[in-house]
């Protein structure tokens, strides 16, 4: 009872804040969007922000999928210092911090550190670990200033994307090195950000070639936990990117990265001492874009990824190599066919311990995939049909077919209605198949099937005014054969539906003042099969995330970005996340504030306060989770 009262008060607080924001903006008139055409200097023009006009975002308007593009500018003005923090800005993405460097990121429910229904990519290279089909977010990073955009698709990824794209896709795309010439130096420190620095140098080698190298480190302080948290997060990484516009038709890109990340862990080993958790890795990637003609484009890419994971209870060495080819071919205006084939090879070597083992210790798997998709304008510029399927062969469950059908109706250029029905599967992870708890009967099973999803979506996008964008999606996900843990092994005994909606609004109230509001609601209705040995309890053990009470039902975010002058920026954000009853996590409302000052061209100083309104709060709980503390940091960004 006490908790619900508190929730009620928090909800009221959110409402009040929204009303205050709305009240402040009611006085602004549209006329203030006008600029003085002949009286504005180059410097002032350089600093002006326009709401979502990027080509990528414009092309999103007629897409029959719940897609959101987070821009570099959005990230910069949020004050986010890591990729998961930046993802908090994306409507519908659920982000919780378990520890300083441990994150639970998901879309449309099933949120945990081991969230396994997302396909996460860096420049098109998948980074989820087949060991548990989840992402070690602590090991994923880049120089945030060099991110071009983060594209997020909620819902099944359609036919095109690779395995694991069940509840969504996150693709982090870095900038072409032609856009990162010169030196970028970033340095900062704060209460939770013990210290961070990044250095990037880019140069044009000639008219067509450019290269950029970077180095980055950060040390992040521990979270809050009675008795000490021991969860500091330290990361060092370096990398290179090379772009070559070989001809007017061909563009070649090469990437290389190395990193070493250490997480303090409060999980004590058998000798009761705290042990670190380490990630070491390197990857190389190449990509060849060929535009034979506007109506015939091809992409060929390949990557090799070496990752090492080292914890007290488990070690993992993994090598992954993949190659993908994709062609977009326009048969005639209004009719495009996209097809592609891909192959991925992954091999691992697990270091077992007395607490957790894998049988076999080494395993290699191949994944073959083929997709074909047809984009057809049924009525030009009015009704577009997308029909496609992905066929994939994996070593766990054999052939999987994942078709989808999508329809977009654009009655006016500023209005799109869309709907889709799609099927997606989450293939078993190595963990579900092969894990063993030594000395017990608890183990994985070869009988484990893929988790299946049929998703129904309806979306609406409208630009009622030049300065307003609204985007609403509702979905019903019908799951079958979700993983459950039955006394000694995993089975597929959970099914049912998850439904909800995501709404997003952007409003440019004035030339120098923008708002973004988003709301996400997620409801669960899953039930264990009657034969499920331990019933509800089994579901809980498979992860409380699968239950009605394991997901925050409501999330609200409101952001305001003001340019106080040509050199001064003020950004405020409010985030509300509903309680998670199964984890005893109360609802929380926090605020972030950023003040940025462009001292002179190329030199920016910013002061960022994060997670304000309480001293510390939990976002997820597990035996090792810590609480998120309020914090402040200062940062200097220098470009020359």
């Amino acid at each position: 009872m006490k908790i619900s009262n508190k929730n009620h008060r928090r909800r009221c607080a959110v409402l009040q804040m929204i009303l205050v924001f709305a009240g402040m903006s009611a006085n602004l008139s549209a006329a203030e969007l006008d600029i003085d055409i002949t009286g504005t200097s180059l410097d002032e023009l350089m600093g002006m922000t326009v709401t979502s006009v990027s080509k990528k975002e414009q092309s999103v308007q007629r897409t029959a999928a719940a897609i959101f593009v987070l821009t570099n500018e959005d990230i910069r003005r949020s004050g986010a210092t890591s990729i998961p923090e930046a993802l908090r800005l994306v409507p519908g993405v659920q982000v919780s911090k378990l520890q300083s460097g441990q994150w639970a990121v998901s879309i449309r429910g099933f949120q945990s550190r081991a969230a396994n229904k997302l396909l996460v990519m860096m420049d098109g290279r998948p980074v989820y670990d087949p060991l548990f089909a989840g992402v070690f977010w602590e090991a994923q990073d880049v120089v945030l200033e060099d991110i071009d955009r983060i594209e997020v698709v909620r819902g099944p990824g359609g036919a095109i994307w690779g395995a694991n794209a069940v509840n969504g896709i996150i693709n982090i795309i870095t900038k072409d090195t032609r856009k990162t010439t010169g030196v970028l130096a970033v340095v900062g420190t704060g209460t939770e950000e013990a210290g961070f620095a990044a250095y990037r140098q880019g140069m044009l080698l000639d008219d067509n070639k450019s290269v950029s190298v970077y180095g980055k480190f950060f040390d992040r302080d521990e979270g809050y936990r009675t008795g000490g948290a021991h969860d500091d997060w330290r990361s060092r990484r370096a990398g290179i990117r090379f772009d070559n516009q070989v001809s007017s038709q061909d563009h070649l890109t090469l990437w290389g990265n190395v990193y070493h990340v250490v997480l303090g862990d409060n999980l004590q080993d058998s000798s009761l001492s705290f042990t670190d958790l380490e990630h070491t890795g390197m990857n190389v990637q190449w990509r060849w874009d060929r535009v034979v003609h506007e109506s015939n484009r091809m992409v060929l890419q390949g990557y090799y990824d070496h990752t090492e994971f080292d914890a007290a209870v488990l070690g993992e060495l993994r090598d992954t190599a993949g190659i993908d080819i994709q062609q977009n071919y326009q048969l005639r205006p209004g009719h495009e066919v996209i097809w592609g084939v891909g192959y991925r090879f992954t091999t691992d070597d697990i270091r077992n311990s007395a607490g957790l083992a894998f049988d076999p210790e080494k395993r290699s798997d191949d994944l073959y995939s083929l997709f074909v998709q047809d984009d057809l304008e049924l009525i030009d510029d009015l009704l577009k049909l997308t029909l496609g399927s992905k066929f994939e062969h994996n070593d766990y469950t054999g052939i999987e077919v994942q078709p989808n059908i999508r329809l977009a109706w654009t009655p006016r250029p500023s209005v799109t209605w869309w709907t889709s029905v799609s099927r997606a599967v989450r293939t078993p992870s190595r963990l579900e198949h092969d894990f063993v708890v030594p000395g017990t009967l608890v183990r994985g099973t070869d009988d484990m099937d893929s988790e299946e999803l049929v998703a129904y979506e309806i979306g609406y996008r409208v630009r009622p005014l030049e300065s307003v964008i609204l985007d609403i999606t509702t979905f019903v996900n019908i799951y079958d054969k979700l993983a459950t843990f039955e006394s000694t092994e995993f089975h597929n005994k959970l099914s049912g539906k998850v439904y909800g909606a995501e709404a997003m609004a952007k409003w440019q109230a004035r030339r120098d003042w923008r708002f973004a509001l988003s709301y996400t609601v997620t409801q669960f209705d899953l039930e264990a099969e009657s034969g499920s040995g331990a019933g509800q309890d089994a579901i809980r053990r498979a992860g409380a995330v699968n239950t009605e009470d394991g997901t925050p039902h409501h999330q609200v975010s409101l952001r305001s970005s003001v340019d106080l002058s040509a050199r001064l920026e003020l950004d405020c954000g409010l985030r509300y996340t509903d309680n998670i009853p199964a984890l005893n996590v109360p609802a929380y409302l926090v605020a972030d504030i950023r003040l940025g000052w462009r001292v002179r061209d190329g030199l920016e100083i910013s002061l960022v306060a994060q997670n304000l309104l309480d001293n510390h709060h939990p976002e997820q709980t597990s035996t090792t989770a810590t609480e998120v503390q309020d914090s402040i940091y200062g940062k200097v960004t220098w470009r020359f």
């Binding site: 023009l45 326009v50 006009v53 990027s54 609406y460 005014l465 061209d601």
Partner: protein, 181 residues
């Protein structure tokens, strides 16, 4: 619990209905993007030294806009202004067929596929060409607008500028996103 869910559904439904009832995009004058671009164009006129050419009216600087014009009234605010002692005249050309000689030519995104024809038409005329082609690599015009994050920026092809006898001030080179030498 049940009751609350229903109430949420009602709130949700009414929100959707409210939004659906919103008017479609109102014709509220030129977008901020094209106001910014128009303002840039005015600055380009100030910061680029155009060559003296015999076949132009003395005292008039012609700015042509080729293709689908999204400037609306924004560009008309430049018309009639005096730049380097000349009065700016703005002319709109729907297609290449309508083109007339001008010292400055803005090529709209709609003309992306016609660049070769436009270059042929221009021949060795000394024209400050400005385009808005995203991701084109080395620009095929002297100045090309691009979106850099949520801001409007531009790149300069200095080789082409030299060929066209244009002198670009260091001020403009400094703020360009990329300068191709």
């Amino acid at each position: 619990m049940k009751r609350i869910t229903n109430r949420n559904a009602v709130v949700w439904l009414s929100l959707i209905l409210a939004i659906c009832a919103l008017p479609s995009r109102a014709d509220g004058g030129p977008s901020l993007e094209y106001q910014i671009k128009a303002s840039y164009l005015y600055n380009f006129l100030l910061f680029v030294n155009l060559p003296e050419a015999a076949d132009f009216n003395d005292g008039v600087l012609t700015l042509g806009v080729l293709g689908t014009d999204q400037f609306g009234t924004a560009i008309d605010k430049i018309a009639g202004k005096t730049v380097h002692g000349k009065i700016v005249d703005v002319r709109r050309f729907q297609s290449i067929a309508e083109m007339e000689p001008c010292q400055v030519l803005f090529i709209a995104a709609s003309e992306r596929d016609n660049v070769n024809e436009i270059r042929q038409w221009l021949g060795d005329r000394r024209v400050l060409t400005i385009s808005e082609f995203e991701d084109s690599g080395m620009p095929e015009t002297v100045i090309n607008f691009i979106h850099a994050d949520n801001k409007i920026s531009f790149e300069i092809n200095r080789t082409l500028a030299r060929k066209s006898g244009l002198r670009i001030s260091s001020e403009l080179l400094r703020v360009a996103a990329v300068v191709y030498e």
